[in-house]
Subunit: 640 residues, 2 copies
Amino acid sequence: MTNVLQRARVPVETDRLAVDTLRFLAADMVQSASSGHPGMPMGAAPMAWTLWSRHLRHDPQAPGWADRDRFVLSAGHGSALLYGLLHTFGYDLPEAELRSFRQLGSRTPGHPEFGHTPGVECTTGPLGQGLAMAVGMALAERMANARYPEVTGHHTYAIVGDGCLMEGISHEAASFAGHLGLGRLVVLWDDNDITIDGGVDRSCGDDQPARFAACGWHTEAVVDGTDIDAIDQSITRAKSDPRPSFIAVRTVIGQGAPGVEGTAKAHGSPLGDALLAETKELAGWEHPPFTVPEPVREACAALAEAGARERAAWGEDFATFEAACPERAAKYRRAQERRLPDDLTPLLQVADAVPRATRQSSQACLDAARGMLPELVGGSADLSGSTGTAFGELVTRDDYAGTAIAFGIREFGMAAIMNGISLHGGFRVFGSTFLVFADYLRPALRLSALMGQPVIYVLTHDSIAVGEDGPTHQPVEHVESLRAIPGLQVLRPADTAETVEAWRLALKRTDGPTALILSRQSLPQLDGDDLDGDHPVSLEIVATGSEVSLATAVARGLRAEGHGVRVVSALDRSRYAPDPSVTSVSLEAGNTAGWRGIVDLAIGIDDFGDSGPGGEVMARHGFTADAVAARVRDYLDSAR
Amino acid sequence: MTNVLQRARVPVETDRLAVDTLRFLAADMVQSASSGHPGMPMGAAPMAWTLWSRHLRHDPQAPGWADRDRFVLSAGHGSALLYGLLHTFGYDLPEAELRSFRQLGSRTPGHPEFGHTPGVECTTGPLGQGLAMAVGMALAERMANARYPEVTGHHTYAIVGDGCLMEGISHEAASFAGHLGLGRLVVLWDDNDITIDGGVDRSCGDDQPARFAACGWHTEAVVDGTDIDAIDQSITRAKSDPRPSFIAVRTVIGQGAPGVEGTAKAHGSPLGDALLAETKELAGWEHPPFTVPEPVREACAALAEAGARERAAWGEDFATFEAACPERAAKYRRAQERRLPDDLTPLLQVADAVPRATRQSSQACLDAARGMLPELVGGSADLSGSTGTAFGELVTRDDYAGTAIAFGIREFGMAAIMNGISLHGGFRVFGSTFLVFADYLRPALRLSALMGQPVIYVLTHDSIAVGEDGPTHQPVEHVESLRAIPGLQVLRPADTAETVEAWRLALKRTDGPTALILSRQSLPQLDGDDLDGDHPVSLEIVATGSEVSLATAVARGLRAEGHGVRVVSALDRSRYAPDPSVTSVSLEAGNTAGWRGIVDLAIGIDDFGDSGPGGEVMARHGFTADAVAARVRDYLDSAR
C-alpha cells in the first residue's frame, strides 16, 4: 500500500519558532490555569515537534483515520504539550480550549483523556501505562497488517518519562514488545533526570538503554534534546530497524526558565507571571499569550495538508481493496465499527447437559466465537489451559495472523496492552488470569472503564473453592471490588447457559469493559424448576455463579420444611432488585459489604480462605447447604 | 561482630543423596496430596541444597533469631521444596506435616504462608513479590547494620522463577536494589525455560542477566544446575561482590521424571504413582515415601548444630553489646518486639488551630514521631512533598543510617519492599502515594494483610476534590475497595486531632496493616458543638474525612429549619454503628455500595470525576452543603 511521506521540509528558523510556540503555549496554559506541569513540555517540545513535523503521518481533519500513525504521550502530565501540538496542527481544539486548560467542561483536562479531545489516542497520567498501550497499538497494527496488508501500514510513537520507566509495567511492556519484534514502535525517552522529589539519582541508577536492549530493542541516544536534526536522524534509523526502538533524548526540564530549569521546581507548578515573562524575554518571544506565529501556522497547515493527501491516497487504496475483495473489506469495516456479525448462532448454540466448570463453558464459547468473529483476539497471562482461553494459532514475531496472544506472566501489561489493541481499533480483545490476580491488573482495568473500551477480562478460579492453592490464590474481596469500578460490567454466570449469555453481553457491549467471573470447579446445569420451586414464595435467595446451585440445594431443604423459596441467579448484580414483599437472602462466596444494602441477610465470606481441598474450605466458611439453611432459619426465627 | 561459618563440608555422596531426598520428599508430598507442583522442586533442589548446606546461616531451633540469614522462595508454588528443607534441617515440621501437604489445618499449605510454618520468612505465590520482599529484607539488614553494627550482619537469599522475572515488580525491585547497592542480597534464578503454558520462548526473550546488570547488579551463570560446586562458587563470588547478585542457574523442570522432565507437564500436577515409581527407580532411590536417609539426616543435624553455635556466638556478641550500651540494646529489643515507647507525648501534642489538609497534619505527626520512634522509617513513591511524608535524612548506598526511603516511582515495589522490611523485623515502616494509585500496590497490600504485617500506607489526595488533575488522579472506588481487604485497618481522619488519633492507632497496631486516607485540600478543625448540635436528635449524618466538615455545614442548615441533627465522624467505619432510633445518612465522596447496608440514605459518588478546580468538581457531583441538604430533605419527605 501507499505509504510515502510527501511533505516539504520546514525551514530551520520555523523549526525553532515552532518549538518555542509549543513551549510557550504550554507555559501559558499552565499559567492561565494556575495549575499544571510546565517543565515536561518545555523540555520535550523539540522532540515532539521533530516527530510531528517530520514523521507523524496523520490528518488533523480525520482523527479517526484507521491507518494513521499513533502518538501516545505516556508522560501524561505533559498534556499541555499535546494540546499545543493538536492546536497548532489544526485539530478541532481552538485557542479558547487552551485558555480553559484544566477547567471543568473544557476539552483540555489536566491529563489527556481519550474520547474527550480529538487526536488524543489514549488516557494517560497513571505512569507507565501509556508505554504499554503504545505496545498494544503497535501489536494491533501488525495483526491488522497480517489480515489487511493492502490498507495497513503505520507506526506507533510514544514519549515516556522517568516515571514511566521506573514503573514495573515498563518492563512488562518492553519485554513483550521485544519478544514480538514490534519494529514499528518508536519510543522517545524524555531523559531530563528529574522526578517530583528531585534528581532521578535519589532513587534510580538504571542504564535504561541497556535494559531495553536486554529485552530485544534497538536503542539510540540523542545527547542534545534540542538538536532537531539529531532527533530526526535517530527516529529515521529507528523506523528502519526491525526491532522496537528506544531513543534516549537528553533534555532539560523547564528549559529556558531561569532559576528553575533542570530542577524539580519546574515539574508541577506554574512558573508565575514574572518568571514566565522573563523566560519569554530571554527567548526573544514577544508575542501575547497563546500566540501561534504565522510561519508556524503556515508550516503546520502545509503539514496538515500533506497528511490529508496521504489519507486521500489511502482512501484510494481502500477503494481498490474494496473493489477487489468486497467481503474482506466488509469484514474490515464491520470490525472497525465494532458491529457484531448478524448471526451469533454458533455462540448461542453452546450448551451443556453435564456439570462443567464455567471456565470450561467459557472455553466452549470462545471456540464457537473464533470462527464467527475473526476480529476477536486474546489469550492469557500464561494460564490459557487453566482459564479456558486457548484461542487458535499463536501470534508470533514471524506471523501476526494468529488469534492467540501469549501475554506472558504479565497481568498488568496484558490489561494495558489490551487497552492499546482496543483503542487502535479493528479488533475485539480478551485477556485472562485468575480472579485473585485481577489486583495485579486493576490500574489498567480502571482505564478500560474510564476510556469506555470494550475489553473483556476472563477471571477464573473465582472463590475460596479454588482449594489447595490457599489464600494467596483465593479471591474473597475481588468481585465486590470490581463492582466498585464505575462502568465495569461484572458478570458471574452460574452454568453454561449463563456463560453463553455472559459472553453475548460482553461482546454486545461496545462502550465499556466486562469482567467474566468464572469457576474453577464443576457446576451443575441449572433447571428452572429448581430455581422457582412452589408458590407462594416468602423467601428469595439471590446468588451468583457457583453459589446458585448451592442456593437451589438450600431451597430444596427449606421447601421440604414448608418454606416457599425462590432462587434468583444475579448474573449481573447491578440489574438485580429484591422483591420487597418477601425476605431476601444473598449467597455469594465473597465480601458481603455490597450485598448488605440490597438484601435482608447477606451470607458471604469476609475473611481470607485456607489451603485445603475446595469443598472442605467452603465448608469451613459455612458454604454447605446445611450451614446456609441453618443461618437462614436462624434469621427467619430472629426476624419473626 | 562474629560471623564465621564453622561447619564441616558434607561429603559428595551425601550431597547427591540430599538432593534426591529433597526431590522425592517434594514429589511424595504432591503425590500424597494429589495436588501441587513437583517440577520446580525437582529442578531446583540442587541449588537449594547448595545454598542451605554451604551458605545459609540459621538455627532451626531458633527460627526467630534476629541475625539469621533470610531465605525467600519467591517461586512460591515450589513450596514442597521449602517444606522439605525445613523438615530435613530440623525445623518444627515433622513428617506428619509433610504427609498432610495442602490439607486443611496443616502447617504445609499450598503456598508458603508466613506465620503458619516455622522458618517460612514470607508468604509467596503471587509472583514477583518474593523477590521484592527479599529486597526489603536486604535493605532492612543494611539499615539495622548502620544502627547496630555490633549485632547485625547477615545475607538475604532468594530463589526466583521465570514468572517472577516476567512480572513488572521484578524490575522495580531490581532497580531499587541496584540503586541502593544491596550487596548482601543474592538471587538465584531457576532458569528452567518453562512456564505453565509451555516454553518461555512463547512469551519472553529477555536476556535476564543483562537486564539485572543494567540495574547495577553483579551477575553469574551456572550452566549445569546440578553442579553443586559451580553453584557454590557462584554464591561465594556473589557474596564477595559489593553489588546485589543475580545467579542464572540453568535447570530442568521435573528433572529425572522420564517423559515429562523439561516440559510444562512437570509444572503443576502430581507425577502419578507409576511415573513417580519409575523416576525413583531411575535415580536408584529405594526408600519408602517421605524417607530422609540417615547420612542426610546426620549431615543436616551437623549443619543445624553449626547454626546453633553461630547463634550462640551471636548471643555472646549481643551480651557484650548490651553490657557496653544498655540503652541502645534496650531500643534494639523494643523495636524487635514492636513495642512503642511508653511516652507518646510528642505525637499526641500535635494540634492545629487553623485549617489544614490532613496530609499536612500527617506530616506534623511524622515530624513528631521521628525523634520518638527511631525504628520508624519510610517515604513515598516519589511524592514526599505532596503526601506529607518527608522524613529526615535519606537512606543511601553510602549511608544506610537515614530514616527516609526514596522508593522511586514504584508503588507496587514500595509496598512489597515495605513488607520485606517489616518481616525482617526491627523496624516500623510507612510508604506513601496518592490514594488513586493504591491500585498499583494493591497485591502487596493484600499480602501485608494476609501476613499480619503492621505496614502503614499513607494515601493522600483522597477524593475528586483533587481537582484539576482529573479522573485518572481522583479516587472514587478506592476507599470502599480497601475496606474490602480482610484485616486492613482503614482510617479517614477529618482534621488534625483525628489524624493524630489515626497515627496513634496505626502505630499501636502490631498485627496488621493500616491505610491512612488523607485529604489534599485544607480542612477546618472540628468543633464538638458543630457535631452534636441541639437535642433531641432525629437525624444522624455520618461522614468521614473531608466530608465531616461538609456534614457540619449541612447540619447547621437543617438545624435552622428545625431538624435535630447529629454529625458523626467515622474515622474507622468498621467501628461505626448507626443509632437505630434516628434516620441515618452517610456522606462520603466515593462509592456508596458499602454504606447502603449501614445507613438509610447513602450520599456518595459512584461515577468517575472530572478535571477542574476541586470545589467545582465537588459541586458537580452534588457535594455542596445546599445540594446535600436538599437530598436529605427529599429523603425525609419521601420517607415520611
